[in-house]
Symmetry: C2
Subunit: 442 residues, 2 copies
């Protein structure tokens, strides 16, 4: 099947992330859709004057400085508006929708202020508007509210929706530095804008909450209807006092269905240290949702070229399915037009640190004899732990191994099972890194 | 618009949860879709013989003991298969798809073993198959992988996919009781089946991982291709040793893209205590996904009538949109056919505990004078905290208040601002419960 043709307007951070993912993940995208996404045109004010690394990832894409060239081009099937703001962006979105093209946007401000009106004007003509990238970047919170948990009645929702202010708050907590110093640091590292007001005064989170309120509670909320307070007055001493109360401080966007109506607020608040939102540190975003059917929590990077690019590309894929009407109807529950056959990778080839728990009848030489079996397979012992006060005839103790292939561990265990001091078969568990905050999943 | 008519086959836990949500959330569902979902028929072997509270929530629904009555009924637009197993369930799903009806299923076993073949047979005829309820109950992880982060290339995925074994492991950790005792306790509380093997031996998690592997990596995996290990051999002492190593133990389902292929495994593993998966306790489920675009984490209740019912009802809503072709194309990005106008609730009416941080020029009577202003508004002070070693001319200290309406706090603060010992305006932050594990979001 021929590719669906994408036009990208705006080559800032999000545009660049989108273009990169569209190239790097082209194979996976085609396997999922059953057809490709091809970038047929890109637009930015400077793309004709200056070299754009991202645009050059797609050498066949036409370059233009005039967005009208994109939205009116019959060779563009789907438009991504990645300009931001509510001026040109609004005209781009409306003109593309009016031309019958599905539109993907990352523009929270435009959506919060004018989204429902734009939608009302164009939905009757079969419009398609994707906006996953507008809230919580790479975390598909809108998809969750709109479809994944659509059957729930949402009672409350609490989000950490602004990564910059969360980074600043957790840096104040971590380093004890004053707000101004941490803000400067964030600016120098590119985490905060030269004018940080939208982030630190809560306006960015407020726009996002207005969008979430529409999806979660079906109400048209204007951002200015939401009480907002920023984080400029939070000091290190507040974290010290909050800590003594078993709490920390986060900038929360909150929505709660109450008898009198929908209560909405954005502002710093104390949250218990043992809660899941307290664990959200650095520039991460998160959303907690409580419904009458269940509670769910969503967490990830809320900003940056790659995470936001994921949301844009995912929406472009849905938009492309809507262009290919049949494909939309026939979308596989398994997310791929067809599945490849799996060839299992032997568990013996896995390289890991391992935890080994032995139960032995204790006597001199036990440790030496176990260690020698590992050494014979070229595996180093990392640590030996033995808690006191156990029965010498059934003594449990633990060894951890330096990273080794499981086949070497298995070979050593085959020999160890022959030893007469074992009370039962050794227990071997892999040690799996699973993401401390900011860490990597391997 | 007239309602879309739903037929439910199977009135076990999930069927009952589904029927309850379809009634309790009928108003919200209709606001979202723009039309209603009506339960037109229910089927279970005993529904004609015994009173079924759930079925009676829908008094107009026809009752039958023969599933053929449902799938062949022209007055049923959409079928939910909630029977489980791979025998009758398979015939129900295939017959309904062959009859051109969208099908929603919660059946992980059927999907893992036969799903791709069933889909291949029926997709060409315009089939629609929803299966969000099959993995992680109320957490929309399939929707996330299939659509929300479809633009990402998934590199690794780690899940806690079986609530029963997670409950057992965290109870062993918490109480120090042996596996057998905790299992018995779980059985008596209805958290574990009389035959617990599917849960504690890892087979349930394995079926779910096979489904996730299809969505995340595009590979057709048979459950028996995945190495599996259960939790029966984990003892309290393992948690003690793991704890000394800064780790805990979880039953993990793991998938990782490696040069040699897709590595899949289910088994207990050590995970660092400061990682997000270590924080998943009790019967909760979770999934971590690492892609080349970003990391995301999803968390919630993986089982139970209500959470699983949310997934079934959400799929029924998508299925209903696919029946109403136009509605599918025109689905609002805001998740509702139309939005209600928001009437803000005054922030002054919010009832909360509050944290107040003062900066004062210290002198005798400061505390008494502040406390009297709160007392005058009927607000009780909960705690007073004062760290030592601060400048007496700019002394920060904290009061927390018992739950009070913000209007009372505001009235007290208006008077307090008149006091001459304040160095700056008091900082008032709400204390917001945000879900310790198992707690409630208020």
């Amino acid at each position: 099947m021929s590719s669906v043709r994408v036009g990208i307007v705006g080559l800032g951070n999000v545009g660049r992330g989108t273009l990169r993912l569209l190239r790097d993940n082209a194979r996976e995208i085609e396997a999922k859709l059953g057809f490709g996404l091809r970038v047929s045109a890109v637009c930015s004010r400077s793309v004709l004057r200056r070299r754009s690394a991202a645009a050059e990832l797609h050498p066949t894409a036409r370059k233009t400085a005039d967005w009208q060239d994109i939205v009116r081009d019959p060779r563009v099937d789907v438009v991504a508006e990645l300009v931001g703001g509510t001026g040109a962006a609004r005209r781009i979105v409306e003109t593309a929708l009016a031309a019958g093209k599905p539109v993907v946007t990352a523009n929270k401000e435009l959506l919060a202020e004018h989204g429902p009106e734009i939608w009302a004007r164009h939905s009757s003509r079969g419009g398609w508007l994707g906006c996953e990238a507008a809230v919580c970047g790479g975390i598909p919170v809108l998809k969750a509210l709109r479809e994944g948990i659509a059957g729930d009645r949402i009672d409350a929702l609490v989000g950490i929706l602004n990564g910059t202010s969360n980074f600043i708050l957790t840096e104040i907590e971590r380093t004890g530095s004053p707000f101004g110093d941490v803000l400067e640091e964030a600016q120098s590292r590119g985490y905060a804008e030269a004018d940080p007001s939208a982030d630190v005064d809560g306006h960015d989170a407020r726009s996002k909450l207005a969008i979430l309120a529409a999806l979660g509670f079906g109400e048209r909320v204007l951002p200015e209807q939401i009480a907002v307070e920023g984080i400029r007055r939070i000091r290190n001493i507040d974290f010290a006092y909050a800590g003594r109360l078993g709490h920390t401080i986060r900038l929360l966007a909150r929505a709660r269905r109450e008898p009198g109506g929908l209560r909405l607020a954005v502002g710093p608040a104390l949250v218990g240290k043992n809660t899941i939102l307290a664990g959200v540190t650095g520039s991460y975003n998160a959303m907690w949702v409580q419904g009458n059917g269940g509670d769910t929590f969503y967490y990830g990077k809320g900003a940056g070229p790659a995470p936001t690019g994921v949301a844009v590309v995912s929406d472009l894929m849905s938009a492309a399915r809507s262009v290919r009407e049949t494909a939309a109807e026939f979308a596989s529950p398994f997310g791929h037009a067809s599945l490849a056959q799996h060839s299992p990778v032997s568990s013996e080839s896995e390289v890991r640190q391992f935890y080994l728990r032995f139960r032995v009848r204790d006597r001199p030489g036990v440790l030496a004899s176990l260690a020698s079996k590992f050494a014979a397979q070229g595996v180093s012992v990392d640590a030996v732990l033995q808690e006191p006060h156990f029965d010498k005839n059934d003594l449990p103790f633990v060894m951890t191994l330096e990273p080794a292939e499981r086949s070497a561990l298995s070979a050593a265990l085959r020999e160890i099972r022959e030893l007469d001091f074992l009370v039962d078969d050794p227990l071997a568990l892999p040690m799996v890194p699973t993401l401390a905050d900011g860490g990597d999943l391997r």
